[in-house]
Amino acid sequence: MLPHLDAAYTLAFWLTRNEDQARDAVQEAFLRAFRFFGSFRGEDGRPWLLKIVRNACYELLEREHASAGAGEFDEEAVGAEATAPGAVLVFPVNPETAAIERANRELVRRCLKAMPHDYREVLVLRELHGCSYKEIAVIAGVPIGTVMSRLARGRRLLRARIGESVKREETGT
């Protein structure tokens, strides 16, 4: 029996977007957790472990990114534009809400995978793992205020992308 292995794998999968890398990162994270274990005291084990998983994922991606050369993270540029400091966070009143409700599973997964990782990680931790803002802050190593704003911006961006994709699919463009 291994505690939180599914939670660890789910997070690793959505951060690396690749099953093999997710497995490697989880393996590495559990070894680190074991090395930490002698000093682990008191706190809740799950956020503690997920933090280790998260860091293992980013280190793995960075290593592979460095060895493969640039070119994989073009999405970041798109994300940066939509989330410049001071960007308005209002959800416009939008007929696309109905379109989002029609979005199929594959389309949603594709859109979430294409999100910049800062947003993807808070969205996954909140929506899939059901973590509280405080837990997400611990895992991602950012203040709670940042968790709040990333969730708001992330949902807004994801909503726009799902809406556009549904429209494109339906009009066949």
């Binding site: 505690p3 939670a7 099953e19 989880v26 979005a103 949603v108 909140r126 899939l128 190593g141 708001a152």
Partner: protein, 234 residues
């Protein structure tokens, strides 16, 4: 509550992260404002879409076995890591079980008072790379003068440098060899993970003789207050 406030708090409201009074204020505004209601419907729609499209994933069985085998290997290589746990089981195969029990263990540890020291216990605090050589020299002398003394070295700040792969002293000797000798004599080396994060050092850079602790300072405090260690700064 106006539209700007509602927009700012809408996500926290949807996530159940607002206090009751704040929550009620948001609700009240949503009831009276069609524009914010539209925004909120959009927010709920995107949350619903994620819920429908992305479920929690079960780890593949092959990963489960791989992790378990990896932990068993780690256990065989560094049994003292387990001996530090109050369960004191070092048999391969039990590692996963021990890891599973960490919350229970943590609770037990919280309840336990400082144990009576059966031996002299000393924690060496190394916080600068300049003093690492002196620390190791003193440590060897210390072990010679007081056989049976238990020593834990906690490294933080630039003090972690000598525990990184390939680190050499002023005479160009690898620290690793000396650390290995000392750890065979029961000395434990613990590295502050906060320091690694802050200095952006990957934990894989740390030599295998050393274990990681979340915070070097917290570890020193814990050793002194909970395990009866005497503090020595080098």
């Amino acid at each position: 509550m106006n539209c700007t406030d509602t927009t700012r708090l809408m996500n926290a409201y949807s996530d159940g992260e607002l206090e009751l009074a704040m929550s009620l204020a948001v609700e009240e505004h949503l009831e009276s404002c069609a524009r914010c209601r539209g925004s909120f419907a959009g927010l709920q729609a995107v949350r619903g879409a994620i819920g429908r499209g992305c479920e929690f994933q079960a780890a593949p069985e092959s990963l489960r076995s791989r992790v378990r085998a990896g932990l068993d290997g780690e256990c065989a290589r560094r049994p003292w890591a387990l001996l530090r746990s109050p369960l004191a089981v070092a048999a391969p195969g039990l590692v996963a079980l021990v890891l599973a029990g960490w919350l229970v263990v943590a609770e037990v540890m919280k309840g336990a008072g400082p144990p009576v020291a059966a031996q002299t216990r000393v924690v060496y605090h190394v916080s600068s790379s300049d003093t690492a050589s002196a620390a190791l020299r003193n440590l060897a002398n210390h072990l010679q003068a007081a056989p049976g003394v238990k020593v834990v070295v906690v490294a933080h700040n630039n003090g972690v440098d000598f525990l990184l792969r390939g680190a050499r002293d002023q005479s160009n000797r690898l620290y690793e060899a000396e650390v290995k000798r000392l750890s065979q004599r029961g000395v434990e080396f613990r590295v502050c993970y906060n320091t690694l994060e802050r200095r952006q050092i990957a934990s894989s850079e740390v030599i295998t003789e050393a274990t990681l602790v979340p915070s070097g300072i917290a570890e020193i405090g814990r050793l002194q207050s909970r395990e009866g260690y005497v503090y020595m700064r080098l």
